[in-house]
């Protein structure tokens, strides 16, 4: 299943259901050797993370990205409630970004599933977007072509 993605109110929210119990999903965020296996985009060939997984603890990740070279960033854990929630901030991108990840236990007849809700906050531009975009379809059309072309350079 793919994610449901919402953008608005200064934030990006990704919701995705994984077919695995919550403690297992959580472990892939908690343990560096597991996080390194999936962190980063498709072009990421190698990830090395040093993580001090506790409130106030820091983490550093160095990624090798095919066609773009090395990329590294630092962050810090603001809140951890195992296995329910992780909040951190990091300096990736053009601004410091805050991320909150919630892990919701879903029990069904098919077994354990976990809903992960990732919220990324820190886009200072929402009100500006609203002002500029109001009454125009331009932004949506751009979005359509962006997604349709599937090229997001």
């Amino acid at each position: 299943m793919k994610s449901e993605i919402k953008v608005g109110d200064n934030r990006l929210q990704m919701t995705r259901v994984f077919d695995a119990p919550r403690h297992l999903v959580f472990s892939f965020w908690k343990e560096a050797d597991r996080l390194q296996q999936w962190w980063g985009c498709k072009e990421t060939s190698k990830v090395e993370c040093a993580m001090d997984f506790r409130v106030g603890g820091s983490f550093t990740c160095v990624m090798q990205i095919t066609g773009a070279g090395e990329f590294s960033y630092k962050g810090q854990y603001d809140q951890i409630v195992e296995p329910e929630m992780i909040a951190f901030h990091a300096d990736f991108g053009p601004t410091t970004t805050r991320v909150v990840v919630e892990f919701i236990d879903l029990q069904s007849d098919q077994g354990s599933q976990t809903k992960v809700v990732l919220t990324q906050v820190g886009f200072p531009t929402q009100d500006i977007f609203n002002g500029v975009s109001q009454g125009t379809q331009e932004a949506f059309d751009k979005l359509d072509s962006l997604l349709a072309s599937q090229v997001l350079v």
């Binding site: 793919k2 994610s3 449901e4 993605i5 919402k6 953008v7 608005g8 109110d9 990006l12 990704m14 995705r16 994984f18 077919d19 695995a20 297992l24 999903v25 892939f28 597991r34 999936w38 962190w39 980063g40 985009c41 498709k42 072009e43 990421t44 990624m63 990205i65 066609g67 070279g69 990329f71 991108g93 053009p94 601004t95 992960v116 990324q120 886009f123 200072p124 531009t125 929402q126 009100d127 500006i128 977007f129 609203n130 002002g131 500029v132 975009s133 109001q134 331009e138 932004a139 949506f140 751009k142 979005l143 359509d144 962006l146 997604l147 349709a148 599937q150 090229v151 997001l152 350079v153």
Partner: protein, 159 residues
């Protein structure tokens, strides 16, 4: 992807999936999307950084807001509501211009300022790229979790 909350509702078919917007934008990504998230950040971070830095300042945000509401304005008209000196406004305008958030044209001795969507597009694209980046990671995580479950089940059976 993006942004633009508001009360607009809209439905469009997107491949085999769909997208709709209600007080924020909801998109279902249904196809494989190449991830250039970090490539863009690594290769040309200046553009996006310039936009975010420019918009981090409340006066500059208000100038952009003013232009989007009032349309093209004289520099002197921009200075007035903010009660700041002309040189100070000029400095703000230069920052906004570098971030491609405004455009300038001359009419005689006056400088006329209007908003430019190019800068906002950079910021928008960056948000879209974040989404694509996360989704790409989640795809891998999904596979890893399935593998972990499978080997766990096999171990259970072997017992």
């Amino acid at each position: 992807v993006v942004s633009i909350a508001g009360n607009i509702e809209r439905c469009t078919a997107l491949g085999t999936g769909s997208q709709y917007l209600t007080n924020g934008l909801t998109i279902f990504l249904t196809s494989e999307i190449p991830c250039h998230t970090l490539n863009a950040v690594v290769n040309k971070p200046e553009k996006v950084t310039a936009v975010f830095a420019a918009l981090a300042d409340p006066t500059r945000r208000r100038i952009v807001q003013h232009l989007s509401e009032q349309g093209e304005s004289r520099v002197t008209a921009l200075a007035k509501p903010f009660r700041i000196s002309l040189p100070a406004v000029s400095r703000h305008l230069r920052v906004l211009e570098n971030a491609r958030l405004i455009k300038r044209r001359r009419q005689g001795r006056e400088h006329l300022i209007r908003s430019d969507v190019a800068g906002l597009e950079e910021a928008r694209k960056w948000i879209a790229q974040c989404a694509v980046g996360w989704e790409s990671g989640f795809d891998t995580l999904d596979e890893l979790l399935k593998d972990a479950q499978r080997s766990h089940n096999e171990r259970e059976k072997a017992r």
